[in-house]
Amino acid sequence: MIITVVDHYPKIPNPPREPKLRKAIHAYDQGKITKEELEKIFDEVTQEVIEEQISAGVELITDGQIRWEDGQSYIARKLEGTQIGGLIRYFDNNTYYRQPVIVGEIKWKEPIIVEDWKKAQKWAGSIPVKAVLTGPYTLGRLSRDEYYKNLEKLVKAYTNALIEETKLLEENKVKYLQFNEPSIQYYPEDIDLLIEVYKEIRKYFSGNLAIYTYFHTVIPIKNRLKDLPVDTFGIDFVSRKENFEIIQEFPKNLALGYGIVDARNTKLETPEQIASLIKKALECIPEDKLFVNPSCGLEYLPRERAYDKLVNLVKGVNLVRGERK
């Protein structure tokens, strides 16, 4: 069992702590501080959220995606062939992202997250940091395609670009690489395309390769999960209770990313509730194939509540570990 998080962590704390990242971005936008000064704040806040995750007891962390404006444009703005468009609602959240607009052939041109990962891993010391990217299928679905005008071609172009990044991550000895693919749940008919894409990506990564989904139901694709050439598949068990049906028949070749702490509601789960859900999973899934995590990224919560949620998640896991010793 490994305690992890899905991806992003809240960027600014509440009073009495200072919202220094928000201030810095604002100052940068107004030309009052330099790019270097802004980068320094990004680094400081990244270190803070790494420390927060570790102090809560998370065992496999992320860099909190502090530099990411959103899951799509952070990647798209570093690729060729893309522009950044207007604001679009992100799934069923009252949260928005800037839509990538595809205006030419998509090509990888510069490192996207590898430098972020290297720094984060240095700051995290012995705690592993997982590298997180939005998956090519979801990027394709959430973009406006004015060039390929064909989803499969667009997704494959994104795949080829992200493979270049994957190679860099592999070279730098990244152990855990996660692609977020929430969109597949909304279009289960595209599961073959998803499988094909990850067969390609798999060739370039030897560590633990994960796909995470969230917000929706996984039931329509449950029989095909075993065909995904990845090590871990993450599911949100909070947004859709019906996803619990999958535990009994979860493919033996995969580890489960068990999203059981509600990252979209402030109501705090007790350690006992978490422990009971973990025991339920352990009836069907071997301990070494279970990652326990919140239902999705934590940025839908105020920062202090996100931290409280992680603390209780860790307490819940420790209750189970204590009983199993």
Partner: protein, 342 residues
């Protein structure tokens, strides 16, 4: 019986206007405890008057009060209802954060929330001002819920509360009541809850009812939504034309209902030309009878600057004027009449 006469293709706005700089500053000072509420409120009234004057100058037919007293369309109601508290900062996008409602007890209304501001705005003009409400499904969906066991219970309690508020607006003289439900299409699986709530929300109302819904994919729920008990749907035909028109062609739109067609992109700084807006209006007239159609921006204007909002609305009204002339030449009446059982 009440008859309201409006020019054909009446013009309106969805709800919010940009807050003038002095109000942004005052809200900030008030939040930090530097000025009393009475000072903030005076400036809210001043800004509301400016919004009314601006719309009159431009020649809009049905006015909005601009929501100068509201930060966020869900949080504002939560701030004024029993059973809610307000969270710490949560990210909306980029560098924008907002405080989200948290439900911590049974929802109750202890006082009218929107009536005083409606009365004030209506007292400034002879033109009708819309009463503006956020729908129960949307308030629930955009809140953290720490109290109710399930979402339906929360939504239905909110529906009772918003119904009381709507009835009070009607008593205060609102001829038009708009109940915004943008969260509805984001959860097609909960359409039954939204529908049940909407019936409660509109119970006993006799004013002209509008619902504004944006940002969604209506395909799975269109048949349910068009049967919501309202006179008018207000939808974003600029950003969502490619989804909405094919849907309306395939699934239809009730002939007896009105449609407010969004013809202005509220997320872009660019001021659309009169000709561009005319083309959007004419596209709408291919799908609807002109006597069914109202014209407005896609959504609230609060993210634009005051100058952008003004320029966009001016061009919208110019475009409508030109299309009206053409319609009258084609033999359409210059006015429409709305009959209400008031």
């Amino acid at each position: 019986m009440k008859e309201i006469k409006l020019p054909i293709l009446p013009t309106t706005s969805v709800g919010s206007f940009p807050k003038p700089d002095y109000l942004v500053k005052a809200r900030n000072q008030y939040a930090r405890g530097l000025i009393p509420y009475s000072t903030l409120h005076e400036l809210e009234l001043k800004a509301t008057e400016e919004v009314i004057r601006l719309q009159e100058e431009i020649g809009i037919d049905i006015l909005v009060h601009g929501e100068m007293e509201r930060g966020d369309m869900a949080t504002y109601f939560a701030e004024n209802l029993e059973g809610f508290t307000i969270s710490g900062l949560v990210r909306s996008y980029g560098n924008r954060y907002y405080k989200k409602p948290i439900v911590i007890g049974k929802i109750r209304r202890t006082k009218p929330i929107t009536v005083d501001m409606f009365k004030y705005a209506q007292s400034l003009t002879k033109k009708p001002v819309k009463g503006m409400l956020t729908g129960p499904y949307t308030i629930a969906d955009w809140s953290f819920n720490e109290y109710y066991d399930n979402k339906r219970d929360l939504v239905l309690d909110l529906a009772e509360v918003i119904n009381q508020e709507a009835l009070d607006l009607e008593k205060a003289g609102a001829l038009f009541v708009q109940i915004d439900e943008p969260a509805v299409p984001t959860h097609p699986e909960e359409i039954e809850i939204a529908k049940e709530a909407f019936k409660i929300t509109t119970r006993g109302l006799r004013s002209f009812l509008i619902t504004h819904i944006c940002y969604g994919d209506f395909r799975p729920i269109w048949k349910e939504v068009v049967n919501f008990p309202v006179h008018q749907f207000d939808l974003e035909f600029t950003n969502n034309a490619d989804k909405l028109y094919p849907l309306i062609e395939n699934e239809g739109f009730p002939r007896e209902k009105y449609i407010a067609v969004g013809v202005i992109d509220v997320h872009s700084h660019r001021i659309e030309s009169v000709d561009e807006i005319k083309a959007r209006i004419k596209e709408a007239l291919k799908h609807f009878n002109p006597e069914q159609v109202f014209i407005d921006p896609d959504c609230g204007l609060k993210t634009r600057t005051w100058e952008e909002a003004k320029a966009k609305l001016e061009n919208m009204v110019k475009a409508v004027m030109e299309v009206r002339e053409e319609l009258v030449k084609q033999g359409y009446p210059s006015e429409i009449t709305i009959k209400l059982d008031l």
